[in-house]
Symmetry: C2
Amino acid sequence: MKNIIIASTSTVHGSDYLEYLLPELKIHFRNCKTILFIPYARPSGISHEEYTTNAASAFAKINIAVKGIHEYDDAALAVKNAEGIFTGGGSTFVLVAQLYQNNIITALTEAVKNGTPYLGTSAGSVICGLSMQTTNDMPIVYPPSFKTLGLIPFNLNAHYLDPDLQSKHMGETRETRIKEFHAYNNIPVLGLREGSWLKVDGDKIILKGQLAARVFKQNQAAEEIETGTDISNLK
Amino acid sequence: MKNIIIASTSTVHGSDYLEYLLPELKIHFRNCKTILFIPYARPSGISHEEYTTNAASAFAKINIAVKGIHEYDDAALAVKNAEGIFTGGGSTFVLVAQLYQNNIITALTEAVKNGTPYLGTSAGSVICGLSMQTTNDMPIVYPPSFKTLGLIPFNLNAHYLDPDLQSKHMGETRETRIKEFHAYNNIPVLGLREGSWLKVDGDKIILKGQLAARVFKQNQAAEEIETGTDISNLK
């Protein structure tokens, strides 16, 4: 039975890394002494070691040890044996390329479907969707496919940002980009604002945190959904 | 001898489509009765026909006719025979996928290298660089490669946006994303603000418009360059 937290961001403004989520994570990973960290997304290009140290510092506050997947010879086996798994944010393109290169797409999908508690933040959340095609990231590396884990039956836009009505900038808004996605694809997209997360229990998916989220479907007007809403039927 | 205008945006705030560029385009396309329009990037998913009509309305103001590439049976031949070429903005991913699918990457590169006057705006400018890897667009379709025309020896970030120092949003700034690109690639990147353009005459590349641009090189601090600067040596 799936047991997943899918968070828009690791960090909310003015607060430490993962701080706002720690009470939730203490419950989520209550049966874990050590969790496996997947640092592949490397925000700002930091090393796997440095990124794992950052994650370990946050989890130390709730007495959980963290080990980086790069410390294992067999990445797929590390995933299979993990008590819990956390995939951090950074570049979705780099993350997905590395998941394919290290051949752990299947192992990760199966482990989480079989009940290994999983936490994703930002890029680590985007990969829970059907494809990474609604990421905000730059295509800095070329992954062999945009297909991702499909742990939820829709796509995510993390760090969802409302249009700035005062802006004189002519670049596309986030909503415009998601509408362009729907000119070519019929997968629903959930715009998850910073501080929001999804809690997946089996097939049940609930929006958590303080904020509403925005649902985009092909050929339909976008819709706001309140926190606490059951979105298990979004597909 | 190359003769190219590479513009950050088609439209500046408060002005009509291409309006700010028309005096320049009148000179640039002075020997053209008709130009070939490449509407593949389809902003907001509009049709090739509708997008071509929009481009034609703007060029009518300087007495130049516009024909869409989709109106020809042989796209490569249309490119080869064109008096002038304009590639409009929209999704860089859709544009690049279509350039490959219609097999016109080589024809387009050769025509422009041989002197056919070319205008790019936004996505139509990004493809002039070595790769599309510094686009801001969502990966809404999967192109067979990120490699682009290489008409200039660096990459572009169109609609370049300075960090908003007041923002509480935790998503990456444009500068952070470009730095992440440089964790994996050594191609210089020019951040071209809206209202700026590059004028390419043979091997000479000059920054035009009112604004400075921002140059990013691997392992170096970013640098501002003033309008009028010759950046032919950026490589």
